[in-house]
């Protein structure tokens, strides 16, 4: 298997020590730590897992370890940052086992944030209201949105988040 990073429909921005990838089709933001970002950049569709692992020390200062690549590819696949749809369901090695063996710094990590539309700057402008429970549970992007009870989600993550002005 020779994974290829998805380049269409994504916008990439380096932010501090993270690589932030905005999926324009799904309006999701994925934050890749340095390990995940390094593997993603190496995925050119021409190299298999072993070759990708051999490139890690020179390209990213990481151990030559194919399990790192497998875990990263599994997570990148789930985040739909690879072109091959089959990789979305790829089995991943045990993160815990890798953590014990390599330490946290070497592990790939991807945090996904559901982003409102690209036009939103500050307050939510979704045309459909969200449920109060989405606001109370601090669903990503809920802040500032109009709730189903016609209140603004002004205190996301609290028990009465939809408590703002009427919308």
């Amino acid at each position: 298997m020779k994974p290829r990073a998805r380049r269409l429909g994504v916008v990439v921005q380096e932010v501090a020590d993270e690589t932030v990838v905005y999926d324009l089709e799904r309006h999701e933001v994925h934050c890749l730590n340095p390990t995940a970002a390094a593997v993603w950049r190496l995925c050119d569709g021409r190299h298999d897992f072993a070759a990708l692992a051999r490139a890690l020390p020179a390209k990213a200062g990481l151990p030559d370890d194919v399990e790192i690549v497998r875990l990263a590819v599994a997570e990148l696949g789930r985040a739909r940052l690879l072109e091959d749809p089959a990789l979305r369901e790829a089995a991943s090695p045990s993160r815990r086992r890798l953590l014990l063996r390599l330490g946290a710094a070497a592990l790939p990590a991807i945090v996904t944030i559901a982003s409102p539309t690209a036009l939103q700057a500050a307050t939510c402008r979704l045309t459909q209201p969200i449920s109060p429970s989405d606001c109370n549970n601090n669903r990503p992007g809920a802040a500032g949105c109009c709730c189903g009870n016609n209140k603004i989600c002004s205190a996301p993550g609290t028990s009465n988040g939809c408590s703002g002005a009427r919308c």
Partner: protein, 353 residues
């Protein structure tokens, strides 16, 4: 100094907490007073809903608070805004090339024009690209920039600079250019833009703390010619000076180079109180609320609630009535503005049967 004085007050309102967290947040190394966990907890919802979440994160990263749940939400906002900044860069390039190809001279204002003054992309989110064109070129610009059917409109075209008491051609003559991704972008002169930002902040009821951060960022990253900044229609100059002092008092903005009249100005108590009160509560700016006519006015409770929602703040009333930012009571202005709004937006009497 006033911002530092509030540092010890841990029993602050949400508005105070917002101001405390945002103090100096536009700097590469924010050096405001230490933020307490309770303040961050209190401020975070308001920071997120007003677009200042990324700045909140910038303030608390690399501190003991960065691992708190509140900080995690702010960090997410920073990441999202950074990603969106990259998307907007593409849209901006397309729009500006279209304008250039059509021979339309445009000034980029607000949004990106001020976001570029912050140390990192994503710290200052923006949605639409705001461009101001000469009033004569307005219709043409709209036609040039109209998006294809079904696509969202990411541009806000301004007919001149209405709220700025300056002739557009004079502003254009003083404008400067900067390079952005191979494009030449025209921006207003620092003093024109800062004056505009100050007036914009007050005109919209000072509801968004981010806009006062913009004033701080512009003061420090793009220092103005002070005499040019403060020249113009005296009432507006008064409002500009008040906003600058407010940025200093509430957020610790640096007024180096400002004339003594600005430095030593003592703001009337109602002004910072009104702003902090606005920042404390979920606030829907006037103009974004449902018209009064859509409310069933003949139900006393609903009418009372509708009027309470539309009761102008001291800042709104001052701007609407064109009053100075001085120590005179605001209540008469608020009553007058409320009456004006009711008369303007209430429905007519029921039709006779």
């Amino acid at each position: 100094m006033a911002a530092a004085a509030r540092a010890a007050d841990t029993s602050s309102s949400a508005g105070d907490a917002v101001a405390h967290v945002l103090a100096g947040s536009w700097r590469r190394a924010p050096d405001g007073p230490a933020v307490f966990a309770a303040q961050l907890e209190l401020a975070t919802p308001r920071l997120l809903t007003t677009g200042a979440g990324a700045l909140g994160w910038w303030r608390v990263r690399n501190t003991v608070l960065e691992d708190t749940p509140a900080a995690a939400n702010l960090h997410d906002a920073y990441r999202v805004h950074a990603a969106q900044a990259a998307v907007h860069a593409r849209e901006r390039s397309i729009a500006l090339r279209s304008l250039a190809a059509a021979g339309i001279e445009a000034l980029v204002i607000k949004g990106w024009a001020v976001a570029r003054l912050y140390p990192e992309p994503g710290l200052r989110p923006y949605g639409d690209l705001d461009v101001a064109v000469h009033p004569r070129a307005y219709e043409h610009a709209l036609a040039v920039l109209r998006p294809p059917p079904g696509e969202p409109h990411a541009l806000d075209v301004h007919r001149g600079l209405a709220s700025l008491d300056r002739d557009f051609e004079a502003v254009l003559a003083r404008s400067r250019t900067v390079a952005d991704d191979g494009l030449t972008v025209r921006l207003p002169a620092a003093e024109d833009h800062l004056r505009y930002l100050c007036l914009h902040f007050l005109k919209h009821g000072a509801w968004r703390p981010l806009w006062l951060c913009d004033v701080g960022a512009a003061l420090e990253a793009d220092p103005p010619d002070w005499s040019r900044l403060l020249e113009g229609e005296p009432r507006r100059s008064d409002w500009v000076a008040a906003t600058l002092k407010l940025a200093a008092d509430l957020l610790g903005a640096d007024l180096t180079g400002a004339p003594h009249t600005v430095h030593s100005r003592v703001l009337p108590g109602w002004l910072p109180r009104s702003v902090l009160s606005t920042w404390s509560s979920p606030f829907v700016p006037h103009g974004n609320r449902a018209p009064l006519g859509s409310v069933t006015l003949w139900h006393p409770l609903r009418l009372a609630r509708a009027l309470r929602l539309r009761w102008p703040t001291p800042v709104e009333a001052t701007m609407a009535m064109g009053a100075p930012c001085d120590g005179t009571p605001r209540l008469p202005l608020q009553v007058a503005e409320c009456v004006r709004r009711v008369v303007r937006f209430a429905p007519g009497p029921p039709a006779a049967n």
